[in-house]
Symmetry: C2
Subunit: 442 residues, 2 copies
């Protein structure tokens, strides 16, 4: 008899969870609220580089949205962020060849007003640049190793090329180069330049660093095969003193175990060439729409479900640091991050220790494109919370189109699909509900 009672109870609870998930799906796909919010964020706030007026406006925007959704305990978690500005002028002229498509890399120093000039020398790797020795002196080093197209995952291809962008300047500077150019981090064949963070090693001269469009890179490479090419690069970017900014949080307090916090979010800052629609407006609205759906359906989660809009993921990670400090005093049960775009979901990453436990949820999530759980779950902002005890989850959408838009002028609402975006939000809502109602087996 006790055995039968258990079965009945367990079936009832299962049905009820499934019913809730169906309601989340029906409401989400009807409202398409994630897209509406993203249109508002990208249209009214636009680009939001850390330290910029756009970033300040984004903080206010999130607070307003959280109030409108009816979240509780809306707060800022302050952090001091870098303040880098692109300025008005960036140009690259090569001779022979004319103008190329160019943008400064994030955190690069600028050039003098008249620019820096030098002969261009092409390399395919940091190692090759390091071996140039004094041949690099006075030159502009051009890193031109493309994505490996053969990799099915574009994130893997990105991972195999991005060292050129991040570390190329200091390697070249050690050999006396005056600037670097980097082929944009994309597989797309257009000519939009893609920015992104770079860094300088301490003790090496800081030289200007810029990305050029893929077609520009191919043109430059073709010209270099025929003979010497001179270039003049002008960048007006500069780094100003650090500025106060903040992560923003808001929550639905738990009805049974409010001390158990299930956080989810993305990063609020973006690069400046587009309006950060996929990177990471999508992550912000995935989390905001998830809690909106839970609120609007009048659901009362057992645990506290919190949205975190992290600041400064792109060029510093100061928001994640400040948030992790807070979590030392306020342990988290779980932390979800979405920072891989607003495309159709394909999988969820999860902390290794819970990979087996969560498998039972898969049948409920497959309708949202979640075909499997994979070991992982750590992205840039939730990563620091795993050693502090949180189980991590990360949304893994389809990635074929991501680097077409990433960090470029193409990262705009026009390249986001309303239903694909909503599926990510519903997946987060459903996952938050499952974690909150059923726990993680401990």
């Amino acid at each position: 008899m006790p055995f039968i009672a258990t079965v009945v109870l367990s079936l009832a609870s299962q049905t009820s969870t499934s019913t809730v998930i169906d309601r989340l799906r029906d409401r989400g796909l009807t409202d398409l609220g994630a897209y509406e919010m993203l249109k508002d964020l990208t249209g009214k706030v636009g680009a939001r580089v850390s330290g910029s007026n756009g970033a300040d406006k984004a903080v206010l925007w999130v607070e307003r949205q959280m109030k409108a959704i009816g979240l509780s305990n809306i707060q800022r978690v302050p952090c001091l962020v870098p303040h880098w500005e692109r300025g008005n002028r960036e140009s690259l002229t090569i001779s022979p060849g004319g103008e190329l498509s160019v943008c400064a890399l994030g955190m690069s120093v600028g050039t003098p007003t008249k620019g820096v000039a030098g002969e261009v020398i092409e390399v395919k790797s940091l190692e090759e640049a390091a071996k140039l020795g004094r041949r690099a002196k006075g030159k502009i080093v051009f890193y031109n190793r493309p994505f490996d197209a053969k990799l099915a995952s574009t994130f893997e291809a990105y991972g195999g090329a991005v060292d050129q962008r991040y570390g190329g300047a200091s390697v070249a500077a050690k050999n006396g180069a005056v600037a670097i150019l980097v082929r944009s981090m994309t597989q797309s064949r257009d000519d939009a330049p893609h920015t992104g963070a770079m860094g300088y090693e301490e003790g090496t001269p800081k030289i200007p660093a810029a990305a050029i469009g893929v077609r520009s890179a191919e043109k430059l490479s073709a010209l270099l095969k025929r003979g010497s090419v001179k270039a003049r690069l002008q960048l007006s970017c500069k780094t100003l003193p650090d500025k106060m900014s903040a992560n923003v949080i808001g929550e639905i307090p738990g009805s049974v175990s409010p001390e158990k916090i299930v956080a989810m979010g993305g990063h609020l800052d973006s690069w400046d060439l587009g309006t950060g629609a996929h990177d990471d407006g999508a992550g912000i609205v995935h989390a905001m729409e998830a809690v909106r759906l839970i609120k609007v359906l009048g659901l009362k989660p057992k645990m506290t479900i919190r949205v975190v809009a992290w600041m400064n993921e792109e060029n510093g990670g100061r928001g994640a640091e400040a948030y992790a400090e807070r979590v030392k005093r306020e342990p988290h049960y779980a932390a979800f991050e979405s920072d891989s775009g607003g495309f159709m979901p394909r999988a969820l990453g999860v902390s290794k220790s819970k990979l087996e436990y969560v498998q039972k949820w898969l049948p409920k999530l497959q309708q949202f494109g979640i075909e499997r759980f994979v070991e992982g779950g750590a992205d840039a902002d939730n990563g620091p919370l795993e050693p502090l005890g949180a189980t991590l989850f990360s949304l893994i959408p389809d990635n074929q189109r991501y680097f077409d838009v990433h960090h470029s002028r193409n990262d705009v609402i026009y390249n986001v699909h309303d239903r694909e975006l909503e599926f990510g939000a519903i997946a987060f809502a459903a996952l938050a509900w499952l974690v909150s109602e059923e726990g993680l087996g401990d």
Copy 2:
């Protein structure tokens, strides 16, 4: 000892199959040949409605491509096809309200030059239209049941709405209506009208049938809530006498069992508003690129691998009929169809009898987005071959974006992604290789 020998052989064969599949992937993702072919088809041939000059050019285009790829036994399988033409003029003016976005449905009769006019009456279903009785007399019946947004699969949503487009005219005509308007079969929020086949029941008057854009449908519906709306519809479309056309086939003869035919393809005809890039240029180039990859790598399949470019899928299925007649004399081992767009693959449909057998291939195909095999495999053109003994497979790509473009002016190369398209082709090549080398367990 025999046991060990079997194991060794089986491992060797497995490794070799995996190696072949890796080579197909590497070459495909490097060349992106499917996209190059599709650019050529949509650019040089363009739209290709059955019976049109475009369809004639498409037949020649496929033959040329097959020769260039080096296929053998290139042949036409003739079929007599309907010949419907849109003509130059289509317009819809409502009063109050002005011009709406409109297109004739495929196979509709035209209107007199001055159009047909009548009061508009809105319904949500064929049942509702049937119940109008004499209230429909002299009216224009407007079918306005949208896709059910709550369905995760847009194909299901399409299936739940398309009866209005296909059958709406005759239901309305029985009650004396003079024309019908149908809300476009899409979930997209733009105003592009989407055409598609309609049919007339024998013995009912043939009245003109047109699709209107979604925003136009919403405007019209809003006006009808305020009062009476009159409309004038002008369509210059007409049906000419049937015309000779053809399916086109070409193959790589099998090196061991040439009598075992593994056919794969899509349909060569398209609608006329776009250039049939996804529907079904994608299916054509999926198959053509698959055999190109096999040829260019110098692989010798054991069975015969054949491409079939079916004619007249959109408005008659005469190509499929003619091809099935041929298969009665030339049994097929397997037949793959791709007619669901060129988006990232998600699954493969397969005949029920082989669903269990093929599971072992899943680990090899998952890198191409094929997350599972599902029961099915029958699409419009390969369907008739199952009762003739062929095991069917169908490619199931992600479908969220499909009905944004389907049968509309948006079905153009610009809305196809080069890598997503190629994954479908590589999946077909890998599947053809697996079927040819390992058989289907019989």
